[in-house]
């Protein structure tokens, strides 16, 4: 094996010129991460947003089409779904900002705190819909 001197990392573009980037809380400190990591962070954000949109679409369907179940059940289901969607979209943004900051500071990436609540909410809604379907 021929030994080679370590090559400089040519994957990472030079530090970005100072431009006005928002939010300041993210961009005011740290160094420029590999832009591919920022793009991956952005795709994770978009996946959370799509999850929120899917929950919202189910909320609209339950709200409009589940009108032959007790009204309390319908309202509870719609409310749970819409609230979960709200939490997901807020967490999408918060997670994006925290991850971007952590990458700039070489800190460990934060774990999302919304995963477990999301699982619990979806499981509860699925259980409720199953109960409704089997008791009619």
């Amino acid at each position: 094996m021929e030994s080679r001197a370590p090559e400089p990392n040519t994957d990472v573009p030079p530090p970005a010129a100072s431009v006005d980037r928002w939010p300041r809380s993210v961009y005011s400190s740290g160094h420029e991460p590999d832009p591919r990591l920022s793009l991956a962070n952005e795709r994770t954000f978009l996946a959370w947003i799509r999850t929120a949109l899917a929950l919202l679409a189910v909320a609209a369907v339950v709200h409009a089409l589940y009108d032959d179940v007790p009204e309390v059940a319908q309202r509870l289901l719609t409310g749970t779904l819409a609230l979960t969607s709200l939490v997901c979209s807020l967490e999408a943004w918060r997670g994006w900002a925290r991850t971007e900051s952590a990458m700039r500071l070489d800190a460990p990436l934060p774990r999302s705190r919304a995963s477990l609540p999301l699982v619990v909410a979806v499981a509860a809604v699925a259980f409720a819909i199953a109960v409704i379907a089997f008791t009619r």
Binding site: R21, E42, A47, L56
Partner: protein, 111 residues
């Protein structure tokens, strides 16, 4: 992981198609938003705002999101720009979805 000897060093603008994947993720999100906005407007808000409100709501959500996505995807097309993306487009998109969720909750409480 070691690279095979003799392979050319990766070029600075070799991005592993990351901008393209991100661009497609934005497109998928736009499609999901169009579907949800139309469904929510047609199904969820009908009783509250009437058809004018529904049409306005769907139009604002769809046009707004398409604009945000197009803006982002335009920036992803050129390599000197995508390295400098910031949080404005994600924030605007998240705010749109937050607003949609709040509208659905409001229609639930008011109906």
């Amino acid at each position: 992981m070691t690279e095979p000897v003799g392979e050319k060093p990766r070029r600075r603008d070799d991005t592993g198609l990351q901008p393209e994947r991100t661009s497609l993720a934005w497109q998928r999100t736009e499609l999901a938003l169009i579907g949800t906005a139309l469904g929510l407007g047609r199904l969820g808000l009908e009783g509250v705002g009437g058809m004018v409100g529904v049409a306005t709501y769907a139009a604002v959500a769809v046009v707004g999101c398409l604009a945000i996505g197009a803006w982002r995807r335009a920036a992803l097309r050129t390599s000197d720009q995508w390295a400098l993306l910031d949080g404005r487009a994600p924030a605007a998109l998240a705010a749109t979805v937050v607003l949609m969720s709040l509208l659905e909750l409001a229609s639930l409480v008011l109906a």
